[in-house]
Symmetry: D2
Subunit: 405 residues, 4 copies
């Protein structure tokens, strides 16, 4: 009996070629795994394509709820941004795929997994580190790092020789390298490789342009419980995926969530990426507003200092690592009081906070008011507060320490 | 001869009352200091008002260039945001005022300084910690923490008794407590004290609304040298203040830079503030884009982790502290290669990056390209990279350490 | 009925005077609270003294186990040191006292608490911030900040006038200001106020000098479970307090755990303190050794970076704060695998690690060995690992970035 | 003309074999580089050995002063420790060797460098990352990762075949893998590979045992200027290397500076190492004491939080990186006031601080004293200080936030 390898299979041309290449080169029996994580195209057609390639064990799964509930929402609890701008739409999906690949390998008795990520990118790292962390004895086959089909021509010739139908090319043929899921669509490559050239308007698929967005603001509310969104516009019984999906629609039609950045890859080079994250962009802003009245100051500040590192862990593929889990314990602990409702106005690319309220609000009108405060706060306390905060500086200044520039 | 006190004097009603109160209560000779830091109203009228109050030594100064060059720009080198949102428009102006108060005290032989900040806010802390750090023997008189004129009625009665003309009230009478300078205008108090009520559109003074902004994008370029902007649209010989002023105009007419947040004050309570920072908002986005192609990855990440702390130092009033100076050494060192040009499109509240270029760009098209890369990068290297990064996780997993949730 | 105040009462002269002063000045009924936290002197005599002062409600409690289990051990899970040297012996006891003061106040219907800490130190802050965090409406009376008895003469005169027996002076009259509990003894004041004068050998009470310690090493083992010590020398059923007490004896007779430092107080000045922490010093070293084979690298590094901040929270009195609790969640999560046995040799002030073993050891002899490793590690992997780690530096160097000094 | 390769050549058996292997395998002309960095054995004999191997260009250099002045001292400015214990004796020497290898390559027209570090360790990473950062186009040949001579037998057979004299084995043949320089000697491998076995006393070469050290303390002083030691016992005109060498002798005869740890390598596994760092151990303690009276509190705390990361950079081989240089700017800035004299007593493994004095001392006896302080500090200030620090916690507690466990 042939050894088995579980392949993360999209049904597209690239992973179809990999399927055949694994069969030919390694004499492996390929098990395919195709997941719906909200990429916006049917996954079921992958079945016929896999069958056509002679695959016997085909796994096709809808993982949208798992993805949003167990990956996206925990990440958003920390207002996570990589390098100040990237909402990690691709990064956060990879650990889920890695987990299912390993589980299916265990289930089917496969000794290896394989994927279609290139040898220059972050995704290979995310898939493989995740897999190794979950199963230290798993083998990984990364065809892009091994084969000689790295040009378009070589790939086409291979298809021809092996009679792989070119219609395996996925529907949305694009001049860009794309990745899509319920959190975002990313675009890389092609003309984007010049960071001084703006992207073509036609590239964007999930959001309208600012110009095309309606002039009238759309107002919504988002309710949070313990740091996670639980409803939009107070609609009951929304699932995590339906919340994100709803916010994607609302954000998309209002031109919200486009981003065009140059980021630093884990493998060492800078890379330009364009991202559409409409729902996530709304969520990020709303979550911070929810925290602004419910989270303690020092907790907020400490979390803000740790966030870049948490983001880096996710970006670099260390979701399944003990340091991420320990940080998650910290983050989840902070979110216990983050419950309430945020009101937002969405208009032409802007997410504007209109109000925030919470039963566990730490906002104390009496303490802050410019009006009479009924003794809530004794202004005289500030004198001692300032004087002791300044004491070390005064001691230094008396010694001639220059605190000026 | 009476002791002297140097008062930070706006020419408005509040500090005029303080002037008289210092004369009456402390029998001090008051020296006034009024600075133009871009608040958008004339400072010269303060002279006549001060004279009317019997002030003999009157300091009126244009500090716009000092403010932008020595405070705003150094702060922007770190992409500084307090609590993820506040651009620190008020916070960064206070150290300059504190410095001049102390210098004028030394020049005029005054033993004390005074200011009109309340006992509940951050500004008292910023003025006083700054002053103590620069002159450890200076005395501080904070009338708001001492007197009993903390209601509007009491203040008016005091004016009447002491014949302080009510026209001393500054022109832009407002239901809000405001602070303005070349970086921003802030609004607090009044109806804003309820964080669930949105601000009245009429409140905003420096930006048009998203609805009223033009539909056509305005495109600009900003050139940076060593982390600081040196020109807008390649206009030569722009001063720091003229750059910020230009960006304010451009941003203002495109509805850019409004912010409405609940923040955590150093003295312990949460406070709701609305801010208009049009030029700063453009600058922040442009600076990050400039860094994205010129700054090393690890330098960026380390700086991002330190930024919240640097922001907190400024917010809390520790500009003139050795820890801020040491952090500034770090920040300034990072900015040496941050030079080049960023192209932006501004439209209806949005700041969109259209391109970035630099002679010291670290963006290496050959390394990143999906096309043939001429051997710049050996994909096989990724295998070892991944395997050694995963080694500790595999060792853990072999021992039964659970890396999953 | 008079208002009540709960006083942290040692039975010594100082708090006896405070008891009388509270009765006289505030007309309060004083409730005393005296705790045995291992200070090494009887607490029961405090009863008669309190009775002699007319106190009706007297709380005397043995809190040694609570202290070690719920405060000392959780703190040691992070290898906590303030400013690199101080084991926080006093700091970690204060939250427990604050907690009991507040609970007794609630139990007895008292509206206030009081303590004998001076207005210059950290302890007032720790008591009061702790109390406010646990009961926001509690009142605090800090006699040292209010009265005029701050000289020895004034205090003695007050005793004479009020007939407070001077024998209330505690047994170990000392030229130093001391604090003792099961974790440490501290010494401050007197000749120690000159940081260039070494302490008198006679000062130390819990440890012998290096000269007087035996020449022969004493060997022990400490067993840990989930980060906490559970036995010394494999003796079964040891309680937390008995473990620390045992280590104190062993360390004390071997001259271990003296420390003489200048530290930075929260209230702003530098202060010289001498500390004896024999058991804690052994425990710190042993715990780190236990972690060295059981804790993941990145978890260790992240924890090490957070430790100074955690230590500062405890030093400054923020044990009962949400940020400490969130950090504790992180720390406790890291400790799950920290179980096993450490062997130590103790001799003349030195704590030397002789061995560490654990069923959950991550130390992999096959991976590290210089001998044949049976394929556990492929040295060729290092090439790619190094090359990709260096990629960004090479890109920079190609652009003329100077990485040299 | 043959291509050249510059080899880091110790004169020992291992690098002699590498020399021959490079000549045979790559047909390269080998240029040898041998440096005296205080390893304690003559470097000149390497010349004859290299000549015997047919090497024409032989570089032998005394780099002791460069090593201590430009690498060791800058590192000690941050009280640098890796994982709380390791003084980085090997790590800090590698960047200097990498720099000279690259410079000699440029000087001699060599296209490659080579070294004798194994494929499992940190040193290969440090050499190579350093070299790549300084010359992005340099080639690296790491024989241990390429050849099949990784067992002792294979090596000996190779020697026999190629007539490499076995007396090339360096004098101090040892069952351990050792590295020595002016900062430390390290021992790894052999029986040390079992972390539960204590090292043989005979292993240690630079320090006497605690038992053998004299009973009488030896007292010394160390003077610092701007963070660096400038003299021991006030001897004038000491060079950096002579200071470290002197402290090594003093420490060594008093049994100071042994360390036995399990550390985490950059390449992913745990490794047990024993280190002797007598002078460095004294210096670390003395430097911290010097800082304790001269460094501002917040500067100290921030530096302490950054130190683990700085240590990790050095450990992992990123000395020649922009992030290390930026951190160094921060560190060097902090050290400006760190000048004065520290008195120490050294006895049987212990380094005890006896006093510290400085003209720029921030220690203010008047502020801290328990005696009358002449109004330097107003104890009443503490009330406001505490109350405002507690305000956010009280607000939280009023809302029912549980701050207790």
């Amino acid at each position: 009996m042939a050894d088995k390898v579980v392949l993360a299979y999209s049904g597209g041309l690239d992973t179809s070629v990999i399927c055949r290449w694994l069969q030919d080169t390694y004499q492996k029996e390929v098990v395919t795994f195709t997941a719906d994580i909200g990429q916006g195209e049917e996954v079921e057609p992958a079945r016929a394509k896999a069958e056509a390639l002679g695959v016997k064990q085909i796994f096709i799964e809808d993982l949208c709820e798992d993805f949003v509930r167990d990956y996206v929402f925990p990440m958003f609890r920390a207002n996570t941004l990589y390098e100040g701008e990237y909402l990690l739409g691709t990064s956060i999906a990879r650990p889920l795929v890695a987990k299912r690949l390993v589980e299916i390998a265990q289930e089917t008795g496969a000794e290896a997994i394989s994927h279609g990520a290139t040898g220059k990118g972050n995704d290979q790292v995310r898939f493989e580190i995740g897999a190794y962390a979950l199963d230290p004895d798993i083998n990984v086959i990364a065809p892009h790092r091994e084969w000689d089909l790295n040009s378009r021509g070589a790939l086409m010739k291979y298809c021809e020789e092996r009679q792989i139908p070119v219609e395996f090319t996925r529907g949305h043929e694009s001049p860009y390298s794309m990745d899509a899921n319920l959190l975002h669509i990313s675009y890389e490559g092609g003309e984007l490789e010049n960071p001084n050239i703006e992207p073509n308007e036609a590239m964007w698929r999930r959001t309208v342009s600012i110009q095309d967005a309606p002039s009238e603001p759309e107002r919504i509310t988002i309710r949070f419980q313990r740091g996670d969104p639980v409803s939009v516009n107070e609609v009951q019984s929304m699932t995590p995926a339906s919340i994100l999906s709803t916010l994607n629609e609302i954000g998309g039609r209002n031109g919200i969530g486009r981003s065009d950045i140059v980021e630093n890859r884990f493998v060492g080079m800078k890379s330009r990426g364009c991202y559409e994250t409409p729902g996530g962009t709304i969520l990020l802003k709303a979550h911070r507003a929810m925290e602004s009245i419910t989270l303690d100051r020092e907790v907020t500040h400490l979390r803000d200092e740790l966030m870049p590192r948490y983001a880096k862990l996710i970006y670099n593929g260390f979701w399944w690592s003990p340091e991420r889990l320990a940080l998650q314990s910290f983050i989840d602990k902070t979110q216990e009081p983050v419950s309430g409702v945020v009101s937002l106005s969405l208009c032409k690319g802007n997410v504007v906070i209109m109000g925030r309220e919470s039963e566990s609000s730490l906002y104390d009108t009496m303490a802050v008011t410019f009006d009479e405060d009924e003794g809530e706060y004794d202004q005289a306390d500030a004198t001692g507060f300032i004087r002791l905060n300044a004491l070390r500086l005064r001691t230094g200044a008396r010694l001639g320490r220059k605190h000026g520039s």
